[in-house]
């Protein structure tokens, strides 16, 4: 099958392969709000949204601001027997010391640095696209890195961790959500929205032009 296809580069450009199961399709025209799914493994291949670029940038900026703000404010505070203690995200990350301090660095990366980097890369890649300018320098490498960071960006997992910690401590002491905890709760919703809005196929196609 390969030989017929290699003859004409233009024909190849119209073909897409499912990234999960490698079935090859000729890319169909997909209208806004429709989606193209792999017939074999049901991976969503193309799902364009109207003004997705602008919305994605707006969402990414919001999440970025939330992450920065959430690291500065206390996110949980505890009170028991007249004693009181607040904890911020930075303090949570640096809870590991001694031989475990490497874990502090990892936690800081997972919940602050990697999510923030990924969002900044996304904004960098998308801004020229929505303004109909040529892609930013190194935009492809930036988008590739941003996609590689997705599984390691764990801000939303940390947010759920707060809820679990709250349940665990509720018998022992009075635990109160601080401002940062509410920011993280909003952040979870926004991260999910970002993922459902993003159509990789559309972004790569616009980077090709």
């Amino acid at each position: 099958m390969n030989h017929e296809l290699t003859q004409d580069e233009d024909d190849l450009g119209r073909l897409i392969a499912c990234p999960e199961c490698d079935l090859v399709y000729s890319a169909p025209p997909v209208a806004v709000r429709q989606k193209a799914e792999c017939a074999r493994c049901h991976t969503v291949l193309i799902a364009p949204r109207r003004k997705a670029g602008k919305q994605l940038i707006a969402l990414a900026m919001t999440v970025l601001i939330l992450i920065v703000a959430a690291t500065l404010f206390p996110f949980l505070s505890i009170g028991a027997g007249g004693l009181h203690h607040d904890a911020s995200i930075i303090e949570a990350a640096f809870a590991f010391d001694g031989g475990l301090s490497i874990l502090s660095v990892a936690v800081l990366f997972f919940i602050v640095i990697i999510p923030a980097t990924r969002l900044m890369l996304l904004i960098y890649v998308l801004t020229p696209i929505i303004r109909d300018r040529p892609p930013a320098p190194l935009a492809r490498a930036a988008f590739r890195l941003s996609e590689a960071l997705v599984p390691w960006s764990m801000a939303e997992i940390f947010a759920l961790g707060c809820a679990v910690a709250l349940v665990k401590l509720s018998d022992l002491a009075d635990v109160v959500f601080g401002p940062a905890a509410w920011m993280f709760a909003v952040l979870v919703v926004l991260v999910v929205a970002t993922d459902s809005l993003m159509c990789r196929y559309s972004i790569w196609t616009s980077l090709d032009e």
């Binding site: 028991a80 988008f143 790569w204 980077l207």
Partner: protein, 193 residues
């Protein structure tokens, strides 16, 4: 997702190295898998949390902590902990091994079901890190001088490493290998190249 001619080494679109099928994919899966399992064992043997209160001091392993909670009648939380930190990681190890063996020796299960299993493993993998985050939150929060303090135990490091290695193992698994057995020897030809 773009299609490139056979033998292309680098993706014309994003510049990442391109393989039809990585001949070492399964070996990478197994290498990360064993590293992950190797870290998961000490993660269960060492204490995860060390709690010091006015009257007592105790260190709990993952299972020990859950048993303790169940003793206090806190069955709900105990079950959540057991499912999240024992059942899911063990199921993940078994599922990845099953998928890798299925590709290696052929499998009677349908491609669709194996693919679904892979997607579940890949999706759930990162959520296991929640345990490490909970330890971080608890030990930064519960610092009430003499009344009660919680410090993280050595198991937290091993647990985090185990989650990272299993995620790498799942990422090295090429889900396309599941489907190659359908394509009339297509995949085998590619592997031989």
């Amino acid at each position: 997702m773009r299609v490139a001619p056979m033998g292309t080494r680098v993706c014309p679109r994003c510049g990442s190295p391109l393989h039809s099928r990585d001949p070492l994919a399964l070996q990478k899966v197994w290498a990360w898998w064993f590293l992950g399992l190797g870290c998961y064992i000490p993660a269960n043997l060492y204490p995860m949390l060390e709690t010091r209160t006015l009257v007592s001091s105790q260190s709990d392993t993952i299972v020990g902590g859950a048993v303790e909670l169940a003793h206090h009648g806190n069955w709900g939380v105990a079950i959540i902990i057991l499912v999240a930190s024992v059942l899911i990681p063990v199921a993940k190890f078994l599922a990845l091994a099953g998928l890798a063996i299925g590709v290696w020796r052929g499998s009677r299960r349908s491609q669709t079901r194996r693919h679904l299993l892979y997607e579940i493993v890949e999706y759930i993998g990162r959520w296991s890190m929640i345990d490490v985050f909970v330890v971080a939150i608890l030990s930064s929060l519960v610092q009430l001088q003499a009344l009660a303090t919680i410090t993280p135990g050595r198991a937290s490091l091993f647990f985090a490493l185990s989650v990272i290695f299993t995620m790498l193992s799942a990422q090295s698994f090429d889900s396309r290998l599941i489907w190659d057995s359908l394509g009339g020897g297509d995949g085998k030809e590619d592997l031989a190249q």
